[in-house]
């Protein structure tokens, strides 16, 4: 063995021990990483991501560590963020508009999630684009729900089609569709009464509203938006599941993200039921509506 070789070998040893040390250091961190992993897991659970989805995500992280995609603790969060972002991004989150005639958007969800307010905000949004908007007061059940929508109509310059309180919501939807067609409306929003997804008679009512709209405009509703409250925990999955059985959902609106709730349950909804989130609500004012940006959402999950 020549001198240089010897040296090289000697150095190799040093190098080995050096890199070894570094690796150990990382491993040492990886030990701390157990804590760090726990902490991440906790963050996800606290964001309402849910046990199952959190487990899936943590598995991805462990895989990432094995495959050396995660080499230091610093890589952990960005990796998770990216994973969540990828899960949430989907090709179908464009809003579907009618090629001709009115676009009908049906807005559904459990009680108090923010359906009517969201319609108010969306109405303002499309009015801002110069569209002619109409609102159908098909929540004929809750006290003063019609007046509430009427106020949003006045605020945003949209005509409101209304019947008596207690009347058939499908009839309101029907009248509204006819009126929208007759009056050259661009977008018709149908507000519905809040209902728990387990009430089969109310789900039947929703199906009927859907059918009536479809009968008048075969490709309508062009959008069926499920409104979810970000404060909601794992029940949101049941909501998404059961509502979609009554009316095929094209997108989710996640409201009340201006609070401290993170709305992480939509990750599970996306993973299990593949529903894109299209809008987020960030306040009660007319302009407190934003398009959903997966990257921002993923990032916010880890913010304290």
């Amino acid at each position: 063995m020549g001198f240089f070789d010897k040296l090289k070998k000697g150095l190799a040893k040093t190098r080995e021990s050096l890199t070894g040390k570094i690796e150990k250091l990382v491993l040492g961190y990886a030990d701390i990483d157990d804590d760090l992993l726990d902490e991440l897991e906790e963050t996800l659970i606290m964001a309402d991501v849910g046990v199952k989805t959190t487990e899936k995500l943590m598995q991805a992280v462990r895989q990432g560590i094995k495959q050396k995609k995660i080499n230091s603790p610093d890589d952990l969060k960005p990796f998770l963020e990216q994973t969540i972002r990828d899960m949430l991004v989907s090709g179908t989150d464009e809003v579907r508009l009618a090629a001709q005639g009115p676009t009908v958007m049906l807005v559904i969800g459990v009680n108090g999630v923010g359906k009517t307010t969201t319609i108010g905000k969306l109405s303002a949004y499309y009015r801002g684009q110069g569209k002619k908007v109409m609102l159908a007061a098909a929540d004929t059940f809750r006290a003063a729900a019609i007046d509430q929508l009427e106020i949003w109509g006045q605020r945003t310059g949209a005509e409101v089609i209304r019947h008596e309180e207690g009347s058939d919501p499908a009839a309101v939807a029907y009248d509204a569709v006819l009126a929208a067609k007759a009056r050259g409306v661009d977008i018709l929003f149908v507000d519905t009464a809040g209902r728990l997804q387990t009430k089969s008679n109310l789900m039947e009512e929703l199906k009927k509203i859907n059918r009536v709209i479809q009968r008048e405009i075969p490709e309508a509703p062009h959008e069926t938006l499920l409104v979810l409250d970000a404060t909601t925990g794992q029940n949101a999955i049941s909501q998404a599941d059961l509502f979609s059985q009554a009316a095929p959902i094209s997108g989710v609106v996640l409201t009340k993200l201006d609070g401290t709730a993170k709305g992480g349950v939509v990750i599970g909804i996306k993973a299990e039921l593949s529903m894109p989130v299209k809008w987020i609500g960030v306040g009660e004012a007319v302009d407190d509506l934003r398009p959903f940006v997966a990257a921002d959402f993923a990032k916010a999950l880890f913010e304290k």
Binding site: V110, Q197, T198, G259, A261, E284
Partner: protein, 451 residues
Amino acid sequence: MIFEGLADRLQATFKKLRGHGRLTEDDVNEAMREVRMALLEADVNFKVVKDFVKRVQERAIGQDILATLTPAQVVIKIVNEELTALMGGSQSRLNISSVPPTVIMMVGLQGAGKTTTAGKLGLALKKQGKHPLLVAADIYRPAAVKQLQVIGGQLDIPVYAMKPGTDAVTIAKTAVPYATAHAADVVIIDTAGRLHINEELMQELKSIKAEVKPQEILLVVDAMTGQDAVNVAESFNGDLGLDGVVLTKLDGDARGGAALSVKAVTGCPIKFVGMGEKLEALEPFYPDRMASRILGMGDVLSLIEKAQDVYDVEEAKKMEKKFRKDEFTLDDFLSQLQQVRKMGSFEQILGMLPGMGNLKKQLDGVDVDFNGKEIKHVEAIIRSMTSAERADITLINGSRRKRIALGSGTRVQDVNKVIKQFADMKKMMKQMQKMRGGRKGFGSFKMPFMH
């Protein structure tokens, strides 16, 4: 739904351990993993779960396993007891002032159900002979005042509102002397929903509190609330000092872990639960039932009570005997259907029973979820049968089916369907019968940990 009951899961975890004399640390640790999962899936707050599991773990290790209980049963029993205790042992009532009026303030996040609950509470108090006044202090949400006015109108309870532009504090402040002047002895103030981090609006509540000095500040919490429930409860409690909690929307399928979280961070008792949109649907809170529900063990007790509400006891006993002796006829079927409708959908009822998950799956193909119209159909069909046919469906052959269809104005396939549903129901009743313990009556549904 996605979740199978904790009882079943623990049973599986412990299968291999049957016959141990004493719970070892390993046994308990394994079981606690399942308990932890169950609680988290029920939306109990992470930190609350952590503390809880630790406490139960300590208590469970070293426990004797009695001859009559499996290890899983021992663990569930302990978990259930601890959970019930944590949620507040016994029921607690409203603070009623000795000098009227009693002032109650409803507070909470947007959409939690404050306005409806204010109405429900008004009705409940009215039924107790009180004279409530509802106060419309939500000046922000469009038509919120109108909503309370409509509810007040439905209940025939006066509503105090002021002209638009009046601030909430003034409304609340002037409502109290108004109540005194008009012989109202309870003032229920409906406030606007607000985020716990909105300082300005939280200040508004503090000012109202300072002015009206309420006996009760009730936090209204949606049963579907997730992990954030602790932050919300902590803030409201810190700013206002809560006296109680109302848990709403419990008529759905939410497991309601928020109840535990809120109780754990505020120490406030949960005083009522909202069980529906109707204004009568306000019930006292039962910690033991909530515990079973959070654990996914079925809301057995609630079901029993509901059943007792709807059924008269004699009738129920008679039916049970009929099931047992297999003497259940189409006539009984019809009256059962009508009863069951009053309790909720069939599916919901099954959901409330422990160990019914599988049965529910089996029944998925079977259309047992009758709506009102269908019941009318069923009724017409059964009424078109002769009494001999009703007593023994095997008599009903093809030509009889045609006759029955004609008589009831339905189609033969409708008749077939009813007969099939009846047969299915009988089958189901038999299965339920098997799951029952030796004791009689509705109280005898066997809990999974009583195997």
